[in-house]
Amino acid sequence: MQCVVTGGNVKVLAKAIHSLSRIGDELYVEPCFSLCVNQSVQTVFRSVATLEKTVEKCHIELDEAKDRLTFTLHCKHGLLKTHNLSYQDSESLQAVFDKDSYANVFRAHPRLLVDTVVHFPLSVEEVTVTVSDERMWVRNHVEDEAERSRAMLTELCLASDEFDHFAVKAHHSITFCLKELRGLLAFAESTGLLLSMYLDEPGSPVVLSVTDSVLEGNFVLATLSDDHNLCKNNNKGPDAEQPPPPDDFMNDDIDSYLIAMDTSVAPGPSAANPPTTSLAAARETPSDRHRIRRHSEEEEDGDRLPNKKFRSIFFGSVLPPSPQTSMQPVPTQEVLASNSEDETEAD
């Protein structure tokens, strides 16, 4: 096997390798059969910035007799860099997926998702993506119910008009690894191509791809299967099925949360946002409803939200995750700004 990569494409190859290195330690190369090359391949393309300036051509050759994969970089000023890497034969890996049969397809510039994931702390391992006819929600996935009360929960909402293509046939909610997503987004962004996302039911892999005339990249990520998803996302309310997060200000769930927080909401453009599932079970009284409606109406007038790219709010769980949620914050938690009105509303 021999192939030659020229000019700017060397940079693309280098970025692909760097991106893949964030996903796993071993690289499978498949010309006609597969081999497994360890992470040393990344050292061949160590500095992408330098590569861009100095490499004119990259020649890749497979020498089966010597079990050797050779990268030859023809650089400026007559410098020739040759890297001979050992490899191991391995069985061919085939990811089983058929993205064309998937219920939901989205297409957008990778920047949209890059700007979304940047809000999650690096410690977040998994994210849950939920889709409805007009919206996509991305939030961090918390494994443990006990952790849920202590963890910082982050949720962002993207509107369909932020995408180049937004086609939803089934309202699914899937959970997958954020680390891999970040890696592939960095690569996708560097290609300057549109990113397509194929999403189906929990358990089916989510596929993200970039395509043009010279390159096709498919990133296939496993998602948590159905029973997993349900258990974790259960709001402990009477409903077994997770209701889609409300997305308008008139919804009482948000309002009751706002009362408990006694905050005129997070600073900046973001006003209220769909609360996490633990808050969906918050109780309210009819008098609340009335008072609250006015409160949120006032707020809504202040912001022309549809113009904003996306709304985000960071909030910790002030309400205990029990269905019998009282309006009082948990006594052991620090209340930064208590709501004197709570006493009258609480049941």
Binding site: N38, T43, G78, L79, L80, K81, N84, S86
Partner: protein
């Protein structure tokens, strides 16, 4: 100026007095050879030579000629002493080592003789610091007996091209192999000036074409392949980074001489040199 307010009497006691308006002209060069704690200072009326050695296998020398200094007064033909180089560098950078233009530390370095400390007067922005560093009995530097008449192969390159190779060197490789050849006897390489490493994941080769515009001189008498311990040569990367040109020479024994041409902040030329013994004689490429 504060540094010159020392009494005339005290000045007369020093057998060596040197001063620099910009201490970086000394500290940068010393950093390029600072792979060990101790350095031997050898001073003659021609200038200052600072030597650092490791394992009796590698030696680095930094040369600062007398005319680089604003003042260079020496009362003896040869003065040698040994100091802790790390401490000296810390003192030279005592004001934080600012690299902004216009701000520099002025240095006055004085020595009274055997048994006396090396005294440094450092001034920046009107603040003066005095440092006295204990001197030690100097160890005799090794004479690698590298003479130009015995040089087999010599190559002069612009540092820029070698800098890339040295920064990418596979550190899992125990050895750095240097091959120089006047002809092209090998199948895989155009083998003229070749740097090779053999690491845990495979081998890497940096082949510098004779026709490259980075190569200023190529004078090879015979094919030579020598291996040097990576750990000994890797520190030379600092000198390489500072330099604009480098000469690579090997002699008939396979000893390596790397000479770096360094331009200091004021554009003056100084030299740094590394000598290294080969690890084993390799007659043919493996």
């Amino acid at each position: 100026m504060p540094l010159s307010t020392q009494s005339q009497g005290e000045d007369e006691q020093y057998i060596l007095v040197t001063s620099l308006d910009n201490a970086r002209n000394l500290s940068n060069l010393l950093k390029a050879i600072s792979f060990k704690d101790h350095a031997v200072f050898t001073t003659t009326p021609n200038g200052l030579k600072v030597t650092v050695e490791d394992c009796k296998c590698v030696q680095a020398n930094a040369f600062i000629q007398a005319d680089i200094f604003q003042e260079f007064t020496i009362k003896e033909d040869l003065i040698t002493f040994q100091v802790n180089l790390t401490v000296l560098l810390d003192c030279l950078n005592i004001f934080g080592g600012s690299t902004s233009a216009g701000i520099s530390t002025a240095l006055r370095m004085c020595y009274k003789g055997y048994g006396y400390p090396l005294t440094l007067f450092l001034e920046e922005g009107g603040v003066v610091t005095v440092c006295k560093i204990n001197t030690e009995e100097p160890e005799e530097p090794i004479d690698f007996d590298f003479c130009s008449s015995n040089v087999t192969n010599k190559v002069i390159l612009q540092s820029e091209s070698l800098k890339e190779a040295f920064s990418e060197l596979d550190l899992t490789s125990e050895m750095l192999q240097i091959t120089m050849s006047p002809s092209q006897p090998f199948i895989y390489h155009r083998c003229l000036f070749l740097l090779s490493t053999f690491g845990s994941s495979g081998s890497a080769h940096y082949d510098y074409s004779k026709d490259s515009d980075m190569m200023e001189l190529f004078r090879c008498k015979e094919t030579q392949t020598n291996r040097y311990k990576m750990s000994l040569l890797k520190p030379s990367t600092k000198a390489l980074t500072l330099s604009c040109k480098v000469s690579v020479r090997t002699d008939s024994r396979g000893f390596l001489s790397l000479q770096y041409l360094v331009r200091n902040d004021d554009g003056q030329i100084c030299f740094v040199e590394y000598f290294c013994c080969p690890d084993e004689e390799v007659e043919e490429d493996s």
